[in-house]
Symmetry: C2
Subunit: 206 residues, 2 copies
């Protein structure tokens, strides 16, 4: 009888090995063999789950996204059972910033993916699928706020120059990416990055 | 008599080798030896100029910044001899976006530096010095626009919630970093990134 393998447990083991490498020496130079060694399994066993570094990084990112979504959901619900759009948007974006060790490590995995995807078109699928999804989610929240009458109306300016919900959503996603960069480089303190995010939200919500 | 070496020419040669590596396979995995080979000089000759990869990347970034500043200056002057603050801010930030092959390669060198600096505190000096300088420059332009009465006044909102020039400057720098990320990942087209930058400038200038 073949030995039973708990595939879910092994995937978690691999994700945790990736996590440890990302938070210490970085994933950029790490091979599949390095990750197998860190997880305490053979290269062959690792390749049962992932045949390329791209696949492994995509798995790690999906894992991070799922954990982050859980955290956002519980943070939003801690604030209110019927949260305002601004609260949902703020907590979603704040979760993406490197404000603590856990989110910082998530950012390091994302950077490893980013470097890979910049130099290899075939690795860009995760970003090309994930970012528009997040953008639609945020745009929907911003549109809900607009329908409630909570966003700013600027009577003294040309109305079509104010970003629409879809544009505002992408501005927020890009801003958070940049705030992450400068926080990881110690140019911004974490609380300064969060304050700047709030300043930007002030422009989109009353 | 010792052979005369044109140090300036050799530095340029090395910068161009760095540039070529950055635009093809990426600088992340490149060693000093790889760069020397690409430049057609010995490792010893390269080490006459740079003793570490950090030094070499810092040199490449300074070189890129100097070229970018020249390009911004001529673009701004092509618009007007007495340019508006918005024009100066816009052209400075647009130059940082990967809108053509030249600026795209500059961004790839910056990413190589970024990855290095995220994992090594000693490499962060360039960013910790350069970003505040750019922030002061942009804040000064935004403050000039405010003194001219051109920025928005929002009579219907609490005045202290509008970003001050220093905050607005950092919001713009972070935004451009994020727009660069998503343009390099093909999530945004270059013209979409530029349009989003203009939308953000609409929030800060009349």
């Amino acid at each position: 009888m073949p030995k039973q393998v708990d595939h879910e447990a092994r995937r978690r083991l691999i994700a945790e090995a990736l996590w440890r490498i990302a938070s210490t020496r970085g994933l950029e130079g790490a091979s599949l063999r390095d990750v197998a060694a860190e997880a305490g399994i053979s290269l062959g066993q690792l390749q049962h789950y992932f045949t390329s570094k791209e696949e492994m990084l995509a798995f790690a990112l999906d894992h991070i996204s799922a954990l982050a979504e859980q955290r956002v959901r519980s943070r939003v619900q801690a604030v209110s059972e019927t949260p305002e759009p601004r609260t949902v948007v703020r907590e979603t974006l704040a979760e993406m910033l490197p404000l603590d060790d856990k989110s910082r490590t998530g950012n390091l995995v994302q950077i490893a993916y980013f470097v890979r995807a910049v130099h290899s078109e075939s690795a860009r699928g995760h970003a090309k699928k994930g970012v528009p999804g997040l953008r639609r989610f945020l745009a929907d929240q911003l549109a809900r706020a607009a329908a409630d009458g909570t966003p700013h109306r600027h009577p003294n300016r040309h109305p079509d120059r104010h970003p629409d919900p879809d544009e505002a959503a992408m501005l927020l996603i890009a801003l958070v990416d940049g705030l992450t960069t400068y926080t990881l480089l110690d140019v911004l303190a974490p609380d300064e990055a969060l304050k700047l995010l709030d300043r930007q939200l002030d422009l989109f919500f009353a």
